[in-house]
Amino acid sequence: MKTTKVSFQINNENVTLEVRPYETLLETLRERLVLTGAKEACGMGACGACTVIVNGIPLRSCLVLTPEVEGADITTIEGLRQNGNLHPLQEAFMEKGAVQCGFCTSGMIMTAKALLDRNKKPTKKEIVRTISSNICRCTGYKKIVEAVEEAARKTR
C-alpha cells in the first residue's frame, strides 16, 4: 500500500515523513522518530500511557492516525525540557516521589501539563479529575496529585 506524506511540528522541530495511512501516531513516534517516552500499555485508549499533546489537547496517540496530525504542533515528554531545564512537573514528580515503575509517568505528566496549560490554578478536585484519565498501577495516585499541585504552585 502507498505511503502518505505528513508534515508536522514535533517538540519545536518540523518534520516531514512518509507514513502508512493506517499508522497510529504512537507507532510513528516510537518507531520512526524513536521518541519512546510515550508507551503502549493497552493500545486501546483505556490507560493513557501514550498521551502526547497535539495542538494543546492531550491525546491518546494510540487512537490517532498519523495522517490526522498534518500541520499539527505536537509535544511529547521528550520536548518538555527547555534549554536543559526540567519542566516544573518533571521536577515535582521527582521531588514528591510520584514515580515508581515509570511506565505511566510520561503519559501522566503530559496529561497534567495540558491541564496546567489551560488552567493555571487547578483545584485538587480538578487535578484528580484530569489524571483520572490515566491508569497508574504503582502509586495510589496520591503523590502524583501532590506533584501536580506543587508544579502548579511553581508555575504560577
Binding site: 524513536v34 508507551k39 514528580f93 521527582m94 511506565f103 498501577r137 502509586t139 495510589g140
Partner: protein, 758 residues
C-alpha cells in the same frame, strides 16, 4: 542502633526518577537493534486439545519472515520451580491446556508481516473435554490435565500443629465460614516484552524480570546451553507485583527465534496476551474454622483452601502456602491445621501475587470480628491479644526477632478512632481493621543470599555491583542510599550496576520481599568493608586514630578536629599508589532453616525477619445501589526502619490501591476458559478518582539484623488492605462477605440477605 544518620531515613529523590520523568528510561519494548526482527506468537484457541501436528512451513514462505518455530524446534525440557513440579515445556507438542497457550511463533521484518505469517501456520488439534472449576476438576472422572497429577491436584500442603480437633471441642465459640475470591490481573503497566540475540554461541536477553539469575538458569536448561552462555541484562521494569518471577514462554520463543534467524528478535505482548498468557492470579475458595476462648484467645484454626492453579504448576507449592504463613506469622495459633490444595484447570497459569490470598486473609479477619462481636469483645483487643511479639515462635517454628505489630495496631486505631467507631457504626458506614505479617525472604537454597562488589574510583566516585532487582519499587535507589550512608559519598556520585547475570552475583530477586533485608544488607556490608580501607589510609594520612575518622560529603575527616580532612579521592589515589585499590565485597545470608521444604517439611525458620502491618478502612455503603465508597484509609507498617520514607509511603499507597480499593473493583471474569476482561477497560484498576484519602504511618521496630534496622517496605498493606475493607463491610452491615471483589451487585445481595429478601 546508630541514629545519627546522614541520609538513610531521609526523603530522597529516587536515583531512577530523572530518566523516568524525561522519557529517557528505556524499557524492553523501546530497544532497537540493527537488523532486529519482530516476533509474534500463535496461541491455542482451545482450552484443552491434543496437538496432532504443527506445520510452520507456510509461514516461512511469506516474504520477510526469517524464522518460524514450534515446540518441535525446542528440546521439550519441562521447567518447574521445583524438581517435583516440572511440567511446563513452554511450547508443548502433545497438548494445549489453556486458551492463549503458546504454540508456535514467527520472526519477521515487521509486525504486519509477522501477523500475516501466523495465519499461514497450520495446527491440527483434537479437542479434549475441558474443566474450568477446581471443585469439578478434583472429582473422579474429570478431564485429566496432566498425567502425573491424580485428580488434577497439583500441590497439597498439609500442616498440622498441636491437637486441632480437641482444641475445637474445648473452645467456647467455634465458627466455620467459606469465602471465595476471583483471581486478579497483575495489570502491570508494561506488558511483557523480550529482546533476544544470539552471537558466537552466546545468548543475550533483555526482559522485565524479578530475578535474572533464576531466569538464566531456566533458559540454560531448556536450551541446553551452558549457563555462562545465557546472559540476562539489566533493563527498567514497568511493574511486576509477582507477575515476572518466573521464566516466561516468550523468553524461550524469542531465544529460539534469535538462534534460528541469527538476528535480534523483539517480542512484545499485547495487553490481552499479557492477561491471558503470562500469569494470572489464583481464584481461591477458603473454608475457615476457628475456635476461640471466651476471652477472644484463638485456640485453634482449621483450614481447607482450594487454589485454582490454571494449567501449570508455576510457583505452586509457594502459592499454596503463602497466605497461611503470612497469617501464622502474625497471630499465635497453638493448634492449627492447614490443607491447601492447588488444583489444575484449563485456564491461564496462576502465579504468586503481591496481594495473593485475599479470600483467605480477608475471610480470617472478618470472621474474627464476627466472633469478637459475639463475645462482646473489641476486634482491636482481640488482635492485640492474639498478635505475636518479638521473641515468640510461630506455629511452624519461625522465630520473630523484631515485631511492631502492636504498635501498628495501636497507631492505626488511634488515628481512626477505631474502637469507638467500630462499637457504634452509623447506618451503612463501617470501619474495619486488617493485620498481617510478611516474611522478608524465604528459603531458596543457595539463592537466598545476596552479595555486592564495590569499588571506589579515582575521583572518589563509587561503583556498586549487585544482583539486586528493581521492578519499580525503588530498590536501586535504596541501595545507593545505603551505600551513600556508609561511605559518606553523595548519592549522585554512586553508580549502580545491577541485575545482569554476567556481571552481578546471585540475589534472591524482587519477588520475595528480600531486597531491603537481604540485598541492601549485602551492599551495606560491602561498603563497610570498603569504608575500613578508606578509614585506615585516611587515619594514617591525617594522623588521627581510625575510630576518629568520619566520612561525609565525599571527604574523610577527624570527628574531634573537623579541620583535619581530605577528599576521599585522595585516599583512593593513595590506595592506587600502594597497589591496593579500594575494592571490597560483602554478602548477607539470612538466618533461614534450609531443611525447610514447602510440601515435605513445612516447619523451621522461614525468613531472617518479618514485617508487620495494620490497615483500617472506613467505608460507606449506598443502601439503594450497594455501591461502596472508601472515604479514608489508614495503614501502619512496621518496616524496621524506612530507608527512604517517601518510597515506603509510595509502596503503602500503591498497596491501598491494589489491594484495598481493588477489593471493591478488581477480579477476572470468565466464561468457561475464556477470560472476558483481558484489557484495561473492563478489568478495573482503580483510578485517581476512586482513591480514598490515605494516611500512612511508618513504625520502626529496628530489626537487629536489617540494614540500619530495615525490613521490607510496604507489602503488609498489600495483604491486609482487603481485610480492612471486608471487615468494614461486616461492621457496617453485620454480615460477612462471601465473595470478593465487593462490587455493588455483590454488596446488594448482602444487603438483601440481611433484609431477608430472596
Amino acid at each position: 542502633m546508630k541514629d545519627d544518620l546522614n541520609i538513610v531515613g531521609k526523603r530522597v529523590v529516587r536515583s531512577d526518577s530523572l530518566a523516568k520523568v524525561t522519557g529517557e528510561a528505556r524499557y524492553t519494548a523501546d530497544l532497537q537493534f540493527p537488523n532486529m526482527l519482530v516476533a509474534k506468537v500463535l496461541r491455542s484457541p482451545y482450552p484443552h486439545a491434543r496437538i496432532v501436528g504443527i506445520d510452520v512451513s507456510g509461514a516461512l514462505k511469506v516474504p520477510g519472515v526469517k524464522a518460524a518455530i514450534s515446540g518441535f524446534d525446542s528440546y521439550g525440557v519441562k521447567w518447574g520451580v521445583f524438581r517435583y513440579t516440572q511440567d511446563h515445556a513452554m511450547l508443548h507438542t502433545d497438548k494445549v491446556r489453556y486458551i492463549g497457550e503458546d504454540i508456535a511463533a514467527v520472526a519477521a521484518v515487521d509486525e504486519e508481516t509477522a501477523i500475516e505469517a501466523l495465519s499461514q501456520i497450520k495446527v491440527d488439534y483434537e479437542p479434549l473435554p475441558a474443566v474450568y472449576d477446581p471443585i469439578e476438576s478434583m472429582k473422579d472422572g474429570a478431564p485429566q490435565i496432566h498425567d502425573q497429577y491424580k485428580n488434577n491436584i497439583n500441590v497439597h500442603i498439609h500442616i498440622d500443629v498441636g491437637e486441632v480437633d480437641k482444641a475445637m471441642e474445648k473452645a467456647f465459640l467455634v465458627r466455620e465460614d467459606t469465602f471465595t475470591a476471583a483471581g486478579e490481573a497483575y495489570a502491570m503497566m508494561e506488558p511483557y516484552a523480550v529482546v533476544a540475540s544470539y552471537k558466537n554461541g552466546y545468548l543475550d536477553l533483555y526482559m522485565p524480570n524479578a530475578g535474572p539469575h533464576v531466569r538464566a538458569k531456566a533458559l540454560s536448561n531448556m536450551l541446553k546451553l551452558p549457563l555462562n552462555r545465557v546472559r540476562i541484562r539489566h533493563i527498567n521494569s514497568g511493574g511486576a507485583f509477582g507477575g515476572r518471577s518466573e521464566v516466561a514462554p516468550g523468553d524461550l520463543v524469542a531465544s529460539l527465534l534469535a538462534i534460528k534467524s541469527g538476528r535480534p528478535v523483539k517480542l512484545v505482548l499485547s495487553r490481552e496476551e499479557n492477561a491471558t498468557s503470562s500469569r494470572q492470579v489464583h481464584d481461591i475458595i477458603a473454608t475457615i474454622k476457628t475456635g476461640m476462648k471466651k476471652d477472644g484467645t484463638i485456640l485453634a484454626k482449621d483450614y481447607k483452601v482450594i487454589y485454582d492453579g490454571g494449567a501449570y504448576s508455576s510457583t505452586g507449592p509457594i502459592a499454596t502456602s503463602i497466605p497461611f504463613y503470612v497469617y501464622e506469622e502474625c497471630y499465635r495459633f497453638p493448634n492449627v491445621r492447614y490443607n491447601g490444595y492447588r488444583v489444575f484447570t484449563n485456564k491461564g497459569i496462576r502465579g504468586m501475587y503481591g496481594c495473593h490470598g485475599r479470600a483467605f486473609l480477608a475471610g480470617n479477619e472478618a470472621q474474627m470480628d464476627v466472633m469478637a462481636k459475639e463475645l462482646g469483645l473489641d476486634p482491636m483487643d482481640v488482635r492485640l491479644k492474639n498478635g505475636l511479639r518479638a521473641g515468640e515462635v510461630t506455629a511452624t517454628k519461625s522465630k520473630i526477632t523484631s515485631c511492631g505489630l502492636k504498635e501498628t495496631i495501636l497507631a492505626a486505631a488511634e488515628k481512626t478512632n477505631f474502637k469507638k467507631r467500630w462499637a457504634k457504626p452509623s447506618k451503612l458506614k463501617g470501619v474495619g481493621m486488617g493485620c498481617v505479617a510478611i516474611m522478608c525472604g524465604f528459603p531458596m537454597g543457595f539463592r537466598s543470599g545476596s552479595s555486592c562488589y564495590v569499588k571506589i574510583n579515582d575521583d572518589g566516585q563509587v561503583t556498586l555491583v549487585t544482583g539486586l532487582v528493581d521492578n519499580g519499587q525503588g530498590n536501586e535507589s535504596m541501595v545507593i542510599q545505603v551505600a551513600s550512608e556508609v561511605l559518606g559519598v553523595p548519592m549522585r556520585d554512586i553508580n549502580l550496576v545491577c541485575a545482569d547475570t554476567e556481571v552481578t552475583n546471585l540475589d534472591p530477586g524482587a519477588y520475595s520481599q528480600a531486597a531491603a533485608f537481604v540485598g541492601a544488607n549485602a551492599v551495606r556490608v560491602a561498603c563497610e568493608n570498603a569504608r575500613k580501607q578508606v578509614v585506615s589510609i585516611a587515619a594514617e594520612k591525617l594522623g588521627v586514630k581510625e575510630a576518629d575518622i568520619g566520612l561525609k560529603d565525599g571527604a574523610a575527616y577527624s570527628m574531634k578536629d573537623p579541620d583535619k580532612k581530605m577528599p576521599i579521592s585522595w585516599v583512593v589515589r593513595e590506595a592506587f599508589f600502594r597497589g591496593e585499590p579500594i575494592v571490597a565485597t560483602g554478602s548477607f545470608f539470612p538466618n533461614i532453616d534450609f531443611e525447610r521444604e514447602w510440601v515435605t517439611r513445612p516447619w523451621g525458620q522461614m525468613a531472617g525477619t518479618f514485617s508487620f502491618g495494620t490497615s483500617v478502612a472506613e467505608i460507606d455503603i449506598d443502601a439503594e445501589t450497594g455501591r461502596i465508597t472508601i472515604p479514608r484509609f489508614t495503614s501502619a507498617h512496621d518496616c524496621g526502619r524506612a530507608i527512604n520514607p517517601m518510597a515506603v509511603e509510595g509502596q503503602m499507597e500503591g498497596s491501598i490501591q491494589q489491594a484495598g480499593v481493588a477489593a471493591i473493583t478488581e477480579g477476572n471474569l470468565w466464561d468457561k476458559g475464556h477470560l472476558l476482561n483481558p484489557d484495561l477497560l473492563e478489568y478495573k484498576v482503580p483510578l485517581a478518582c476512586d482513591m480514598p484519602d490515605m494516611d500512612t504511618i511508618i513504625i520502626s521496630s529496628r530489626d537487629p539484623a536489617g540494614p540500619f534496622g530495615a525490613k521490607e517496605g510496604g507489602l503488609t498493606v498489600r495483604m491486609n488492605a482487603y481485610s480492612a475493607v471486608a471487615c468494614a463491610l461486616t461492621n457496617a452491615t453485620g454480615e460477612l462477605f462471601t465473595e470478593l471483589p465487593l462490587t455493588p451487585d455483590k454488596v446488594m445481595k448482602i444487603l438483601e440477605r440481611k433484609k431477608g429478601v430472596k
